[in-house]
Structure formats: structure tokens, C-alpha cells
Chain length 321, copies 2
């Protein structure tokens, strides 16, 4: 595989071959020189897969739920890719024994592909790399892409927002509803799942979320459902798949899907342009000049704003008049 | 305050007046037109305060610990500012009754200033705004700045990295050590705290962390301490303050502090320049041309990479040869 010509790797990735596919996603993740050629080749074939975000706080049982979702989709005959960008997910490495058992439930099935993404991207990099990996999986023919991400933190919310439809997963214990609202999860949820609903308080937690949802201004005709699941025993999973599919149908029929995807493409374009502008700028500043400039901050001869404006050549606009 | 002239607000902020100070930080947070003038005025007076990061997963008791730390520092005669960028922190609004009681312990003391930062910044914005708010507090004369941030998520780790010294707070329950390692917390910890150590398993959790630390390659002469605290009853807090102070002394003596601060200034300069470059670019592209360009992505006439390269005018370099 190491010696495979880029064109050949791209061709075999698009044919859905697993080993080239894994390597192709590594290209994306590591910003390999051939990554843009790969993504250019993939892009025209994207838009067919549905991308489903599964997010929520650590300990909500997201990985187990994702495993069960993948199995349910397979039972319905759909091919499934899992992209784990959750640093606490067993899919992202360091899995404990029990987690490995669960992962093994999915192995040996060519209709399932599991991939973790490193969480150490530069600013915006994580969401961009995730979206690009999903493009590759989409182009390779996977019909449903499950994006597992921990729902705490700005970058992770951005990852969740690359999905077509996003489920926020909580547990029955009180307080989660409040924390979810504070952490911005309320705004990104297309549906809510109270997982581990075999524990006490699941109905009450579901009611708390429904009440909180009622207080919000309705921004669309989609009424956000609240489902109860117990992923470890498979309970509620077929209903969750049904709900995702119902939402995807609604998104498609109302044109919301196209609008959302268009917005996300615009965001991705912005991130790529920002990166090119910075690289272009940095290539034009000699290393010594840059070090000297930074040193003027250290001894307070200059301030960050003034220095940035001067270096970026936008001093006229940045200086207050 | 609304009608205060910018110069007057800046002057009174630097004098440490609380109401102007609160407003000044809002300027930073909202990117007010006068924010850069404010920050320019503050920057020359920064570098005196020590900035202490307190991070860890939700539920680790960070806010209680921060409250106790602030009280301990006050008892030692230092002035303290608290910057909460943790969406689950009571300091960030939505406090429950018990949380408010704790916050009240700090109110009415002019030597303490508490401020929350919104978590909805654009890419890199959260860390930059936090660092800028700390600059204002530093310039206003606060001697210790406690930065509370939830330790899950890329942006939040970036916030923790704006501190001079960072404590990672965990709880005794097993699994946390593993999760901390996976979530990247291990790399940013200057010291570890097992909080809620009045619960079972604190000693064992401390040992697990120590073992994990021994496995790492030593990158410096600082041996990362692991402390046990029970912030709700004040236990271990004086020792934590002592350890922070010992680390700060070590950082100063070895020149590590200056090196770290220099690196962070360089990062901040980069973020500011990136923002200026993007604004400059965007101001030069007419709205209609932009919309049309984005539309070519929607119908796959163009790919994100090719379009970005063309728009950024860096097509020559971006095209693979």
C-alpha cells in the first residue's frame, strides 16, 4: 500500500476497497500532499450518504449506542461507516476489554467501516478533517455515516454540526438537562436520546427535556423528539433509526437538507481559504523577521494588535481613527 | 457607564475600578470597536499576574475548588480574579442554589473579581478572548488569575494552555485516569488534583496517575505532583496553593515561564493575523461573487480545494504538479 501510486489509491478508495480507504483517510487526517487530489476526486461523488451525528457528555453510552445503530442499519441492508472523534470513545483507541467486545460485534462485516479521528487538529481542523473523511466515505459508497463526538467543547460542537441530523444523548440522572442547555447542546439537537433508560428517572429526564424544548421559540416545523433507549440491551434502537430516517425524509422534502449542506460547504470553503491566506502570508515573512517581531511583544515594545495590523499590511484599517 | 468616553473607561479599568473593568472585558468578549485600543493600553502593564488554569471533566468539582483557591489566596493577601470559561460552571450563569451560596462566599471582597466568558467564540476565539480578558485583569492589578475551564474538547484545552501553570482536576472514581490520558489532559497538566478525595478510591486514583506519569518520557526537571483535595470541606487547598506557587517559582527560575509566555504571544499574534487576512480577503470579494462561488460547490461544478485556491489567488501553489 505504501508504494501504491496516488491515482491507483484514489481509484481503489472510490471502489470501496477497505485498505486503500483507511490509507486515504489517513491522508486527509495528516494533510498529506496528495490529500487535495484525493478530495477533488471524491467531491463529485458526495451527497449521497446521510451523515448522522451522535453527541453528548462523556459517560452517556454513545459508543454502545453507535454500535447498536450500526447493527440496526446493517439489518436494514444499509452500509455504515463510523467516524469517532470522541477522545473518550473506545473507537478512538485505548479501548477497554468490554469496549473491544462491542467493537468486535461489528468486525468481519464488509458493510461496516470504523474509523477514529485524532482530536489534535489545529483550529477548525477537527471539523474540517471530519467532514473531509466523511466525503471520502460517502464517495466510497457508504450509505449512512455515524459521527460520534463528545458533546462538550466548542470544536466538538462544530464536528456535530457537520452532520445532516444530530442526536444529543443524555442519561437519566438529573442535572444533565440543565448542563446540556448550558453547554450549547440544546441548539444543535435534532433529536434527544435518554440512553441507559433502564436506570431510574429516565421518564422524568425525558419530561425535563420536553419542557425545556417547549420554552424555546420554534424555529422550524420539525418537532424535536425525545427518545428513551437502553443501548446495552438494544432497547429503543430500531425506534431511533426510524426517527433518524423520518428526520432525514423531512429534511429532504422541505429543502432544509440542501440549505444546511450549502451552509456547511460555505463554512468549509472559509476554513480552506483562511488556511491558504495564512500559509501564503507566512511564506512571505522571513524566519528572522518573524522571530524579531515576536520578540517585540515579549519586551512590550509592541502590542499584539498593532503588530498584527502592521505585519498583515492592514494597518490603515486596523488603526482606530 | 454606557456614556463613559473610551479613554476614561480605559483609565478607570487600569485603576482597577470594578464596573469599568467588567465593561472592558465585555468589549473584549464582543470584539467592540474600542477593544483593540483597550488591549493596546493594557498590554504594556501585563506580565505581572500569574495565570493558573484549573481544568478537568464535568463534575470534578472545579468551581468549588476555584472558590476555595480564591479564598486561600485572599487569606495570603493576594488579589484574585476568576475567569470561568467552563459551560458547566456556576460562574458561567445558570447557577443552582448551592452554587450561588458558594459564589456568595467570594462576593463583597474588593480583592476578588469573578467573570465568565461565553463559549461561543469563533475558531480560536475562545482562547484568544480568554487571554485578552486575562491581560485586562493583569493590567488592572490582580495578582493571581484563576482560569476555570472544562477539560474536554480542543478549544477548552487551548484555553487551559493560556495559563502559566495548569492543574488537571479528577475524581477518585476509576476510569478517569484513562479518560484523562485519552482526552489529552495528561499533556497539559503541570499538576494533578484528585478532588472529592473524601470518597473511596482517592489514594488508588492518585497512584494510577503517578504510574501513568512514570511511563511518560520526562521532558523537564519538574516532577508533576499529584495532590488530594476535598474542596467542599477545604481539605488540601493550602497545599494546592503551595504547589502552584512552587511551580511558578520553578518556572520563573528556570526561564521556562518566559519561554512559555513567548510561545503563547506568538500563537496569539498568529490568530490575530489570520483574522485580519480573512477580513481583508472577504472585504475584497463582492457578495454576489461569493454567493455564486459557493453555489458551484453545491452542484459540484467545483471542489472546495480548487475553489479556495482560486479565490485566495494561490492557485499556482495549490495545484499539484
Amino acid at each position: 500500500m505504501q508504494d501504491l501510486a496516488p491515482d491507483e489509491l484514489i481509484r481503489r478508495t472510490l471502489a470501496g476497497e477497505r485498505v486503500p480507504l483507511a490509507r486515504a483517510i489517513s491522508w486527509v487526517e495528516n494533510e498529506h500532499p496528495q490529500a487535495s487530489a484525493l478530495l477533488d476526486a471524491c467531491f463529485g461523488r458526495t451527497g449521497r450518504a446521510f451523515r448522522l451525528g451522535i453527541t453528548g457528555p462523556p459517560g452517556a453510552g454513545k459508543s454502545t449506542l453507535v454500535t447498536q445503530l450500526a447493527k440496526e442499519y446493517r439489518a436494514r441492508g444499509e452500509t455504515v461507516a463510523v467516524v469517532a472523534v470522541d477522545p473518550t470513545s473506545p473507537f478512538s483507541g485505548g479501548a477497554l476489554l468490554g469496549d473491544r467486545v462491542r467493537m468486535n460485534e461489528l468486525s468481519g462485516d464488509d458493510g461496516v467501516f470504523i474509523r477514529s479521528m485524532a482530536t489534535r487538529g489545529s483550529m477548525g481542523g477537527l471539523a474540517v478533517h471530519t467532514a473531509q473523511a466523511c466525503d471520502v466515505l460517502d464517495a466510497a459508497g457508504f450509505e449512512r455515516i455515524l459521527i460520534e463526538t463528545v458533546g462538550v467543547g466548542q470544536s466538538e460542537l462544530e464536528v456535530a454540526q457537520t452532520a445532516d441530523s444530530t442526536a444529543v444523548v443524555l442519561v437519566p440522572e438529573s442535572g444533565d438537562a440543565v448542563q446540556a442547555m448550558k453547554a450549547g447542546l440544546m441548539e444543535i439537537a435534532d433529536l434527544f436520546v435518554i440512553n441507559k433508560s433502564d436506570r431510574d428517572g429516565a421518564d422524568r429526564a425525558g419530561q425535563a427535556i420536553r419542557s425545556a424544548l417547549h420554552l424555546r421559540a420554534r424555529t422550524s416545523e420539525w418537532t424535536i423528539p425525545v427518545l428513551l433507549t437502553a443501548a446495552s440491551i438494544g432497547r429503543g434502537v430500531p425506534e431511533l433509526v426510524e426517527t433518524f430516517e423520518r428526520h432525514l425524509a423531512w429534511l429532504t422534502e422541505t429543502g432544509t437538507l440542501e440549505k444546511r449542506r450549502q451552509q456547511r460547504l460555505e463554512q468549509r470553503l472559509e476554513v480552506l481559504i483562511r488556511e491558504l491566506l495564512w500559509k501564503d502570508f507566512r511564506a512571505q515573512v522571513p524566519e528572522g523577521a518573524w522571530t524579531e517581531a515576536v520578540a517585540t511583544l515579549g519586551d512590550r515594545r509592541e502590542t499584539p494588535h498593532r503588530l498584527a495590523a502592521r505585519l498583515a499590511g492592514t494597518g490603515e484599517r486596523a488603526t482606530p481613527d
